[in-house]
Symmetry: C2
Subunit: 414 residues, 2 copies
């Protein structure tokens, strides 16, 4: 609503007048230090801006304030036959998800926030209010300011309203789990599925340690072995076709115990377990701190990247679980450390650096979906090169000359 | 290849040193004056940079020089099981298509250039060479420079290489034509199809005048009535399902003479006729000049937008054909005039302005896929507002402070 955006604009203008940094805050579920204030300033909590402003069912879009969470939006969509598919696990705000270019389990079929934000209302560093994009499904009218803002982590402007794409709830959904003799076979099954063009909705890999943690945490009795979680969306015939194809691929690679969940409550239980993986892993080492990291590589390099990463993992003492959205070539490490133990910290740094450098060397990225924040600034130049980082700095200076919008994030220190 | 990009960089640096504008050129198929030189300068012809540098079939991407055309890329993909779907009609260069954020008939299923360019090599205004994006399917690493360049019409940098997404050739393809008693029924059929979430590959509307022109030009015998062209991609069962659904919708709305083309040669003939619509229309008024325009609106407003536009068309003397990619809410007018006839010119201006203002008033865009160029600069502020246009100017100044890259395009005169 105009009023709330105006209030944000008023605060930002005051901060601009007094040289005070502004750090936007949603629910605090980001993991690269995005909401920290290394240069001081105010934390601008947008979680109260949580109105769903419009649902255009006929056009498949909704207009929301930035503080609306993904679950809240999906609740509001009940009865429309539509849903918002982007699901990073946490019940994050849509503003936060846009700011970090979030994705998650459904991205292999539905894309990431970059594909699902059509328009924004954004408060600029000087307090002016800008509209970007629009509700048409496509446009060639000028620079794509919407996609410049998506993933900019609050450093170029503060998104206060978003227009997001909605998708029809598929007529048929089925989910399945399947265990594999080793992680490489599981990864090969993913690669073959994607290369065949099967449009799976989700295809998630969890290693044995993640399954152990999930069983302990969620009281499930899943096999503690490398496992793929699948979900298929489509017409009944289409879903059956996809499922058959994938089951054949998996079986050829030693996949066993294919277990189907077609009832909504069974599917929910399955995906809840998957979403709990992160919190479950935290329990593996009580009192520990967690350094989550994520990388993404071209799918042809995924098996190699995971195998080399596993070879690192077995060399360290700290527990490290590996899981992720491997249909996109994206996987996570959950690295557990005792912060007061220098060896733990050294091991965590070693593994974290190596997986990022490996992903970049394989033409991948240092972060598939977490963002750069504070933690990954040091890799930005390795990934994009000096010239691109210079251009990013030039854009930042053009839009935020005083460097007051979430300063210290994304761009490396000079 | 490094050499060719280096040559472009050398030329651009020379031009920067001497204050000479640089206007990139591909095959010259753009329609909004993009390749004109209103402030002088050099035309930088990239059509000779036409090497396909790499095809990564396993990852579904290809690296091409900017001068590669879409047909050339698809020829190079033969035997891989993959294709590049973006098809604006003309056999444009991929560099030009990226620069104008092109789309075309397949966009409803496969997206536009914004969705299909993963990475670029770009020469900046000062001759530095920048890499943007990467080959991972997703990334949250920093500002999305790739999508800032896509649609920037050569004004922010000159793309010399692109990494584009490829898609699996569908197992089954079928196409159909269907005539309707009036244009509104045809549009309603499109709207219902899209709102049901049927993932048609193409869904094109042509008005009776377009069909008359096509029959004259292509020696076809299609009914000269409002017509939809459909194409379905998927598995055999999926395609059959989609086709059934759409045929039922069309029949309910008075659609008749459903004619199927499943043999490749019949499909090609059909789509060739569709692609010839523009050239066919030119023959309706020998010696005429054509002002093509395109707009795009949310699908819920499409019927209204087309009906009001038709009401304008019947009020003028000049022939105006209407057709387009209505699955996205996008349609074109082909406006034919005798340049020496002031009444023709006045009528063309009147219709052109009204359709754009109507689309913007309906939360649509002044151009779905042609770009702004010279011709539509005057609408940019009406569509995006003063603040967004100011931000576009700030980005332009940050990246091209001398205003030498395709100057005078996109941004309105102050």
């Amino acid at each position: 609503m105009a009023l709330a955006t105006d209030e944000v604009a008023f605060v930002v203008r005051l901060c601009a007048d007094h040289g005070v940094p502004v750090i936007p805050y949603g629910v605090g579920s980001s993991v690269e230090g995005h909401v920290l204030a290394p240069r001081g300033g105010i934390s601008l909590d947008l979680s109260g801006m949580n109105r769903v402003l419009a649902i255009h069912a006929d056009d498949g879009d909704a207009v929301v304030e930035a503080g609306v969470t993904r679950k809240q939006l999906n609740d509001a969509l009940k009865g429309t036959g539509l849903f918002f598919p982007i699901d990073p696990g946490a019940d994050a705000t849509l503003g936060g998800m846009a700011a970090t270019r979030a994705s998650g389990t459904n991205a292999v079929r539905y894309g990431t926030m970059k594909d699902n934000v059509l328009a924004t209302t954004t408060v600029l560093a000087d307090g002016r209010v800008m509209k970007t994009g629009g509700r048409a499904r496509k446009s060639s009218a000028g620079y794509d300011l919407t996609r410049l803002l998506v993933g900019s982590e609050g450093t170029l402007g503060i998104m206060t309203e978003l227009t997001v794409k909605l998708h029809p709830i598929p007529e048929a959904i089925s989910a399945a789990v399947c265990t594999f003799p080793d992680i490489d076979s599981a990864v090969q099954a993913v690669i073959q599925t994607i290369q065949l063009g099967v449009s799976v909705a989700r295809i998630e890999l969890l290693d044995a340690l993640s399954l152990k943690a999930i069983n302990l945490f969620s009281k499930t009795t899943l096999a503690e072995a490398p496992t793929l979680f699948f979900e298929f969306h489509g017409s009944p015939a289409g879903v059956a076709e996809q499922a058959e194809t994938v089951q054949a691929i998996a079986s050829d690679l030693g996949g066993a115990d294919f277990e189907w969940a077609t009832r909504p409550e069974d599917r929910s239980r399955l995906w809840q377990a998957r979403h709990d993986a992160y919190f479950a892993c935290l329990q593996l080492k009580p009192g520990c701190r967690c350094f989550p990291t994520d990388v993404c590589v071209p799918i042809s390099r995924l098996a190699e990247c995971i195998a080399e990463t596993q070879a690192d993992i077995v060399q360290v003492q700290i527990p490290i679980a590996l899981f992720g959205h491997v249909g996109d070539g994206n996987f996570h490490l959950v690295v557990l450390v005792d912060r007061d133990n220098p060896q733990d910290m050294a091991e965590a740094a070693w593994v974290g650096t190596r997986v990022v450098e490996r992903a970049i060397a394989m033409e991948g990225t240092c972060t598939g979906e977490h963002g750069i924040g504070l933690g990954k600034r040091k890799y930005l130049t390795a990934e994009h090169g000096e010239v691109a980082v210079d251009v990013m700095r030039a854009l930042k200076s053009a839009l935020d000359p005083q460097n007051l919008l979430n300063p210290g994030k994304i761009l490396p220190e000079r």
